[in-house]
Symmetry: C2
Subunit: 275 residues, 2 copies
């Protein structure tokens, strides 16, 4: 029997939406209250596949999730891009003037802060999950409280939409990845994108040399991010995504890179979700 | 008369601590409730210098602040690194068992979440500023509520420390920058670090070529971050920091780079705060 797919949050969350888009509308999910719990479900084999947000067009990379994938030696096996649209929802017959508190995830509260400037009577309260608040309002018939969550959540929990797309920056795309314990069943034919991590000394030109190799091997860079290694001054870790046409080109680069860079590591090999 | 220095937050905030460390313990500050307000104070000439957090060892770059500096054509004129230590504080004679709510900035709540797992009776509530909560508890003699803020804030507002260094990840360093409208009064002798922004097409090897120039000109890379341009597919913006020994080496790189890369821009020239 197929195991459920672990997500951060509950049904109706953006992670759930990714499962429905990437896998199947009816896919069973395991609802987790943190990314640590998501990863634990994978390590303890309650799940074989999980979904994690990895970067956002507004906030950039979600470094703690990179660290979770890296430190547990997990594999990215797929990616999915989703436009995040925050909606405000409450029980039927409630208007925004009835609302005294809005509960949501701190990130959602931050992204919608400007919208609430016009409603100074509303108190913003941190909650663990966007969709969970919607669920509780619905199940416990809570008046005076609204949730910020996906439109999906309003439908799932029978809530009334008070406002749509209330985030300050309208174009708010998040990149999610599908993660497994390993990538043993990979289909080399379909792979045209790879996520890499490597370390370099703070020596002039060291990164340029590595990028020259990638370029010579016909790999295209789609993301690069440096992160100083806190415990080791002047040592940097780099997270790099590359795309390519032929897997053999990547194999060539891999063999050179593993000699050139310290702690060279493949975080995932998968199909590029951009056209 | 010297104008005040604008900070995000109030006296006792981490931004205030940076002003005290970088300028002077007695420097006057203009307390702002958002980074937008900080930048507005500069544009409207209420201030000539402001302090902004720019990146964090846990969360990575604070992309919205990069965007504020870039879009208003401001100049970074200095940098300062600060270890963030979150403390829990309340009125005298209150113990943690008396505390029913903790109010703080969403980022501080996130960073200290694990600490509060042992105290499920405490409700976490979002507030605008870490130090502002401390001030209110003190001024309005609020019992049952604690603040998460700097040790500095507990001293300034006469609060009792209930716990120190409660953030989950102990080493939590933030890089702050000092920002002016322009960098007209720069002292070339002292400058050994520069923040750059440029754009490149998604063409194989384009970044490697640029980094080769930097390397050939004896510049050392200390940070690199790519950001897809949302409105232009396949076009990328790069934020890069470089250090060097001789300003003339940078000038040489600058003249080549401005020909090679699109929208090449200097975000700031300043003194490296690392030894």
């Amino acid at each position: 029997m197929k195991k459920p797919i672990a997500i951060q949050g509950i049904k109706g969350s953006f992670h759930h939406l990714v499962v429905q888009n990437y896998f199947n509308t009816d896919s069973e999910v395991l609802e987790c209250m943190s990314f640590d719990d998501v990863v634990n479900s994978l390590l303890e084999k309650q799940t074989d596949e999980v979904v994690m947000a990895l970067e956002n067009s507004i906030a950039g990379s979600i470094i703690p999730n990179y660290a979770l994938i890296d430190s547990h030696n997990l594999s990215i096996v797929g990616e999915h891009y989703l436009e995040i649209e925050h909606c405000l929802m409450a029980l039927e017959n409630q208007t925004i003037l009835d609302i005294k508190e809005v509960h949501s995830h701190p990130m959602a509260l931050l992204q919608c802060k400007l919208f609430f400037k016009a409603y100074p009577h509303i108190k913003l309260v941190e909650a663990k999950d966007t969709a969970d608040v919607a669920k509780q309002i619905s199940e416990q018939n809570i008046k005076g409280v609204a949730a910020i969550a996906s439109k999906n959540a309003s439908e799932l929990y029978n809530l009334n939409l008070l406002a749509e797309s209330i985030q300050t920056i309208k174009h708010n795309e998040t990149r999610f990845v599908i993660v497994k314990r390993n990538n043993d069943e990979k289909n080399i034919e379909a792979i045209n994108k790879v996520s890499l991590k490597f370390e370099l000394d703070h020596k002039r030109g060291s990164l340029a040399t590595v990028l020259n190799v990638l370029s010579d091997c016909k790999l295209n860079l789609t993301k690069i991010q440096s992160l100083p290694k806190i415990e080791t001054p002047w040592k940097y870790a780099f997270f790099v995504d590359v795309t390519f046409d032929a897997y053999k080109d990547f194999e060539k680069a891999k063999s050179i890179m593993s000699l050139m860079a310290e702690n060279f590591k493949i975080l995932g090999e998968y199909k590029n979700a951009r056209r």
